[in-house]
């Protein structure tokens, strides 16, 4: 028996190193996929290296940790003394993002629950497509809505002198982040296996009880991931906040104060600085800061979403 097997194996041996066309195609595709995968990483590292290098001079020279993070004065072009404090900018970004999340979280969770758990058939398809369309609206359009529509409305309704402020940008950013959050939250709800719902319903739970006692807890990580992604989006958004915040440096004390965001500062000022000047480098340092923050948020979102599949 074993002799016979050995013979067969030996007989086939001559064929073992024969390479077919399929083998080459397989190798080629593998190589292409590898290059594609690796290049994404290379680009990200490249971008980070570039930003770091541009900002490095500042970090090593003029950079003053205390001033940079704790001074509300961003006066990069002052004649007497240039100050590079980003506290007010951070406050601007944080207040706008915070308000945006206050608006986007209930909206997007509500929409996701409706689409995933209640809507069916045509309604559901229609809503899903609508949400995806909304997610595709370019941010400059949102900025324009803030500038041209929200601005006068806010001035009228609240009787304030300017309508370009935290409220305006928060609402705009909230509406902007809601569709993508809805989409991800809906995926999270759809990932909850149906037998869970069936089991709960068979025990007499109502639709709503099924949702808040079973579906939401089961989808909790995915939903948290959706929220974190929304926060990341808000942090990194530039155009819309540039247009809707009023772009004035301020630590806001009410939603009617104009503010300025980190991203908008870079966008607005980079073009006017001399390459290599302290101002230029300071802007790149803000870039590094944003990069690190968004990276942390996205990483957290990713870890949280992945947690859902394990647990």
């Amino acid at each position: 028996m074993s002799e016979k097997m050995a013979q067969t194996a030996a007989g086939a041996g001559s064929d073992f190193d024969r390479l077919t066309l399929d083998w080459y195609i397989d190798k080629l595709v593998q190589a292409l996929v590898f290059i594609g995968g690796i290049s994404a990483i290379v680009f990200i590292i490249g971008i980070f290296v570039f930003i770091s290098r541009e900002g490095f001079g500042f970090l090593l020279g003029e950079f003053n940790f205390k001033e940079f993070f704790f001074s509300p004065n961003w006066r990069p072009t002052s004649e007497t003394k240039e100050t590079f404090g980003i506290l007010a900018l951070v406050a601007g970004t944080a207040s706008v993002t915070g308000l945006a999340m206050l608006i986007a979280i209930p909206f997007s969770l509500g929409a996701a629950i409706f689409i995933a758990e209640f809507a069916s058939g045509k309604t559901r398809e229609f809503l899903k497509i609508t949400v995806e369309l909304l997610a595709a609206i370019p941010s400059v359009v949102w900025g324009f809505i803030g500038l041209a529509i929200m601005n006068p409305i806010i001035i009228e309704t609240f009787d304030v002198p300017v309508g370009l402020n935290v409220l305006n940008a928060g609402v705009i950013l909230g509406l902007m982040a809601a569709p993508i959050m809805t989409s991800i939250a809906e995926d999270a709800l759809n990932a909850v296996p149906d037998p869970y719902r069936e089991a709960a319903e068979a025990m007499g739970a109502t639709r709503w009880q099924v949702i808040y006692k079973v579906v939401l807890p089961a989808a909790k990580n995915g939903l948290l991931g959706a929220v974190l992604l929304g926060v990341g989006r808000g942090f990194g958004e530039t155009m819309a906040v540039l247009m809707a915040t009023g772009h004035s440096i301020n630590i806001p004390t009410s939603v009617f104060d104009s503010v300025r965001a980190l991203t908008a500062t870079i966008a607005a000022e980079l073009g006017e600085t001399a390459a290599g000047s302290p101002h230029y480098q300071a802007l790149f340092t803000i870039g590094i800061f944003l990069f690190v923050i968004t990276f942390i948020i996205n990483l957290a979102a990713d870890l949280v979403v992945r947690g859902v599949k394990k647990g």
Binding site: A202, G204, Q209
Partner: protein, 263 residues
Amino acid sequence: MNNTTGSQDAGLAIHTEKLNLWYGTFQALFDVDLKIKQGIITSMIGPSGCGKSTFLRSVNRINERLGYVRITGAIDVMGENIYAPGVELVQVRKQIGMVFQRPNPLPISIRENVLFGHRIHNAATKTSKSEADDIVEGALKTVLLWDKVKDRLDTKATGLSLEEQQKLCIARLLPVKPGVLLMDEPCSALDPKGTEAVEELIWELRGQYTILIVTHNMAQARRASEECIFMLMGKVVEHSDTGKMFVTPENKETSDYIEGRYG
């Protein structure tokens, strides 16, 4: 109470008359007339696709969540028409517990799984911690699971073995004291040892609950039930004492199936 089967027979747990069911345009049940007695174990056998699950699911009314199911005829449970217009689904499902083919504990703690039904049906009154503890202990002891899990009641139920999960799925029905337990192939996802354990448990519950159990396992039907129903292509072919059905079946189809000449 219009449109009941007419018999207020106290001895009947489930009584259907001329029950027809359609999934969309496909008819899955044809004129099913069944009288299932209280307090005993009735098994339901028949080839795949003959409508066993469909029948069970319409007794718990869980079929309705599909949205395209239509029913004619009557189903009385404990003498009450569960399809009467004023009937509350929640109450129906409290009376009629269901165990599924694949164990489906909820992705929450063992303790919360056991208390799930209880909390739903006693939403108005607050259950004290000690009451809850008693309920959990009682239910888990009944299903012979207490000793195994008593030290990890707060861990996720989905981490238990399949056998333990299925026992838990039975345990969580008990706190609301259902009259009827419907079990759809409760052992088919289990290994022989788990099957034996769950079968033993079902036998233990005999008398306290009316049990209707679907099985593909002839030996199980024979061992574990007092009456037996044989279905074929959406119709009831035979319903008699298990002993009698397995020794002297009335119909040729029944004997063919029992002797393994069907799929």
